[in-house]
């Protein structure tokens, strides 16, 4: 529905690039391909096999094209970005819309908040009549028809050349400013169009600062949404939804699948709904919940057991109903994420489902997650609840998850 509805508001998107080149993960590619193949193609148009960064590039291009007040800015945006996600955009849309900024994360996001907030500051524009504007747009875009900017929002696409780790430098502006901008002003102002993108997660050799999964920090912040795609196709649709979402969105992209190919990413403009979890594989013995690249690992671990695999996609606000319905069916739940287990988002899912399904549960809720250490380099295969580039360790981690599944099933 959002696809056809032009939402005019201010928002931004920050994308963090990284210079490391990722080696292909063909086995993951096969898994993702099979996972994606089960999706209903959301939009019309033939798909092409493209990887994550190309899908992101397409989404950004669509966003820039569909609203002349869209901007991409940040570190290394101009030449295409370290992850190549903004390739060609500066040339196509101009340097005033796609431009580099000084190296300062909080400056970038603070700047982005201010730019996004301007859509909610309006003046009476005599050339535009209220009657011409659909009321549905008017009602949430702060009297857009009265806007000096003549009905148009400002799309912001902020781009960083840094890992998600450095994203934590933004946390002040995300938590204290973006998340509270609407609430604290009594809806006089908002920066709802802000979309903050960042690559995250392990890549096999990132060490402390190029491997982290800090989604839990942001899930503890009322007022923003946290979205994590599992594949290029999901990434493009969810990113376009996030951009058009009238609330600030933090959009994490699993680095490990950046260069992965995916079957069928529709070429045109399409969106995927936020806050709707997806059952990507049906089963009856146990419910597995995850997000991002972890899903492919979890699917591999399903071997021999009838697992119902759910991609949460939006972590806050998350779709409790879908997970609850699944657990009511299977009676068991296992959550898996790369982030450290203590205080991870799996704890929130576990607690909520226990509250809702206590009498139905046949086993304790299991969590298979990263360990409570800083993300280590040489110890990554031991740390992670997932595959890494050292293929020899794949069976080891699959076994870990498989054991947990079996323990839960046999509880």
């Amino acid at each position: 529905m959002a696809t056809n509805l032009r939402r005019f508001k201010g928002f931004g998107s920050i994308f963090i690039n990284h210079t490391n080149h990722l080696r292909g993960l063909s086995s993951s590619s096969a898994v993702l391909g099979s996972v994606d193949a089960q999706l209903q193609a959301p939009g019309s148009g033939t798909g092409k096999s493209i990887n994550l960064y190309t899908a992101i590039n397409q989404a950004l291009q669509i966003a820039l094209d569909s609203d002349p007040r869209s901007y991409i800015f940040g570190e290394d945006v101009g030449f295409g970005g370290v992850f190549r996600c903004t390739t060609g955009l500066a040339e196509q849309f101009g340097k005033h819309r796609v431009f580099n900024t000084p190296l300062c994360e909080q400056g970038i996001v603070g700047f982005g908040i201010g730019l996004a907030a301007m859509v909610s500051s309006y003046k009476f524009c005599t050339t535009v009549s209220c009657n011409q504007i659909p009321w549905s747009i008017l009602s949430y875009t702060c009297c857009c028809c009265l806007s000096y900017f003549c009905n148009r929002g400002i799309e912001l696409l902020l781009k960083f050349n840094l890992q998600i780790t450095f994203f934590l430098l933004l946390i002040r502006h995300i938590v204290n400013e973006a998340a509270k901008f609407r609430y604290r002003s009594g809806n006089e102002f908002n920066c709802g169009g802000l979309t903050i993108r960042a690559p995250y997660g392990a890549v096999g050799h990132g060490g402390h600062y190029h491997s982290q999964s800090p989604e839990a920090f942001f899930c503890h912040v009322p007022g923003i949404k946290v979205v994590i795609p599992r594949s290029p196709k999901q990434a493009k649709g969810l990113l376009l939804s996030s951009i058009r979402e009238p609330n600030p969105v933090v959009f994490f992209e699993p680095k490990v699948i950046t260069f992965l190919c995916s079957k069928e990413v529709p070429e045109g403009d399409y969106t995927l709904p936020l806050s709707e979890a997806e059952v990507i594989r049906e089963g009856s013995d146990i419910t597995l919940v995850g997000w991002g690249a972890q899903l492919s690992i979890m699917e591999q671990a399903c071997d021999g057991i009838s697992c119902e695999l759910i991609d949460l996609k939006t972590l806050i606000p998350w779709d409790k109903e879908t997970v609850e319905a699944s657990v009511r069916k299977t009676g068991r739940l296992l959550i898996s994420h790369e982030a450290p287990v203590t205080g991870g988002f799996g704890a929130e899912i576990s607690a909520s489902i226990v509250e809702r399904c206590f009498l139905r549960l046949e086993a304790p809720v299991a969590r298979v997650c990263g360990l409570d250490t800083p993300f280590p380099l040489v110890f990554e295969p031991f740390y992670m609840p997932t595959k890494n580039k050292v293929r020899i360790l794949l069976p080891f981690w699959c076994i870990i998850i498989l054991d947990a599944i079996k323990d839960t099933v046999n509880y």
Partner: protein, 494 residues
């Protein structure tokens, strides 16, 4: 002749480069020289250079090293706009034999053989612009704008209104009627005069000590009271502490307690005005303490690089709660920081309403016409406590406070000038004081009686629409309130 001198210069340049081992970019006015010299360029692997235009003279000095600045690493202002000029290649004249100039990334810089550090401190501080002396009399030959009687009367009366509002609301907090308050005492001129110099369609990103800007723009006293009481008429719907005013109608972004976060927001907002080619600017206020934050530095740098129409107005009132200015910084105040970032700056007397008015008026013009940020440091003194949670006599002497409340008081100074022009009198003062006190007392009484926002307003506006988790939580809290009504405030309707 020309070719032989070119050959000589090329040889000497190459010799020089090899001996000094500087990675450098250099230029001669001959295309083949550029091609031959590429193997010596080992800093930037950039695409082949376009052929530059020649310098005026064909004579190449063998010692030079003047060079062409690559466009990508030029310093200086370039219009950051859709219609930005494509060619800002510098042309450098030949240098005298004793000087050497090179173009590192960042632009042309002269060499010097002297090992000397620039001093961290300046012999002489940046002077402070003022129009009125301590007695409120115009200084001869001061640059200032003439203002009309009507404008001056509104400025003065709003300064008085602000003073009275501060007094009455402060007392209300002391009486327990509102939970918190922070006065603007000592900074009335900054508030009112800066607002007077702006237009209503300029956007304001305040810190928290600038309610006078909102007052100037017509925000009613009653609405100030509503916000302080957090009742259902508060624009902020009772969610924030008192003094956290905001009004979209008045282009005044909502105050937040966070220090200096508004500064980069202002830069982003200014960028939107630039892109939309608006005839307006953004102003953002902050204190001396705020100028130490990372947000300030980030924002000023961004504004300079992106060339946006924003006025950075620093209220250097000498205190960041209890931290005096000499424990806040070691630079010559905040004004010198503007220069460090490439931003035109000025230091002004923040207790001189006319100086503030003239400076902000000029700054606004510069910001809009030249699409440049401007930094204003207004020296002033915070005569009130930081807030009602503070007792400043604990860290400064009462004598010091009284001194600044006396002759240097910006309201008194401006009044003296007003009276010298015959535009104000004791009668007018008395009448205005009485009328304002009465209005404010009534406003407080009325605001106190108004009920609070409904419980639903605790959950609204977290997002644009209520998500399911908040619907559940609202249902739960309503159930709890119904069951234990006596444990919850009765003035918040369900």
């Amino acid at each position: 002749m020309a070719s032989s001198s070119l050959t000589k210069s090329k040889t000497s340049i190459i010799h020089h480069l090899k001996s000094t081992k500087f990675p450098l970019l250099y230029f001669t006015n001959h295309t083949s020289s550029i091609r031959n010299s590429h193997n010596l360029l080992h800093t930037i692997s950039s695409p082949p250079l376009p052929v530059p235009r020649c310098a005026t003279s064909s004579r190449i000095n063998p010692f030079i090293v003047f060079s062409r600045c690559f466009e990508s690493v030029c310093v200086g202002r370039r219009l950051h706009s859709a219609a930005s000029a494509s060619n800002d290649v510098r042309q450098f004249p030949a240098e005298a034999p004793s000087q050497q100039v090179l173009d590192f990334p960042g632009g042309k810089v002269k060499f010097t053989p002297k090992l000397a550090f620039t001093s961290g401190s300046t012999e002489e501080r940046v002077p402070c612009y003022r129009v009125l002396d301590d007695s409120g009399q115009p200084i001869i030959d001061s640059d200032s704008l003439k203002i009309s009687k009507e404008l001056a009367v509104k400025m003065y009366s709003d300064m008085v209104t602000l003073e009275v509002m501060d007094t009455i609301f402060y007392e209300a907090q002391r009486q327990g009627r509102i939970s918190f308050y922070a006065t603007t005492m000592g900074e009335e001129a900054i508030n009112i005069a800066s607002a007077a110099a702006l237009h209503n369609d300029d956007f304001v990103f305040p810190q928290y000590r600038e309610p006078g800007v909102l007052l100037w723009r017509g925000f009613p006293l009653q609405e100030f009271a509503h916000q302080c009481f957090g009742n259902k008429y508060d624009n902020g719907k009772g969610r924030q502490m008192p003094i956290h005013y905001g009004s979209r109608k008045h282009n005044y972004f909502t105050v937040a307690s966070t220090v200096a976060t508004q500064i980069p927001h202002a830069v982003g907002a200014a960028y939107s005005l630039k892109m939309e080619k608006q005839d307006s600017c953004v102003i953002t206020y902050f204190g001396d303490g705020g100028s130490s934050t990372a947000d300030f530095h980030a924002a000023v740098n961004f504004a300079a690089v992106l060339e946006v129409p924003v006025i950075f107005f620093c209220r250097n009132n000498g205190w960041a709660i209890s931290t005096p200015i000499n424990e806040q910084l070691r630079s010559d105040g905040i004004v010198v920081r503007g220069k460090a970032y490439g931003v035109p700056s000025i230091r002004i007397d923040g207790n001189d309403a006319l100086a503030i008015y003239s400076a902000v008026h000029k700054a606004r013009k510069m910001a809009i016409e030249e699409q440049t940020p401007v930094l204003i440091e207004a020296l002033t003194y915070r005569t009130g406590h930081h807030s009602t949670s503070d007792d400043s006599t604990k860290y400064r002497s009462i004598d010091e406070i009284e001194q600044w409340r006396g002759g240097q008081n910006p309201v008194k100074r401006f009044r003296k000038w007003m009276e010298s022009k015959g535009w104000w009198s004791d009668e007018a003062e008395s009448e205005h004081h009485c009328s304002t006190r009465k209005q404010l007392s009534q406003a407080i009484q009325a605001a106190e009686q108004v009920e609070k926002p409904t419980i639903a307003d605790m959950f609204n506006d977290v997002y644009d629409v209520l998500p399911k988790n908040l619907m559940e939580q609202e249902a739960f809290i309503r159930k709890t309130i119904k069951k234990h009504t006596q444990d919850y405030p009765s003035d918040v309707p369900l």
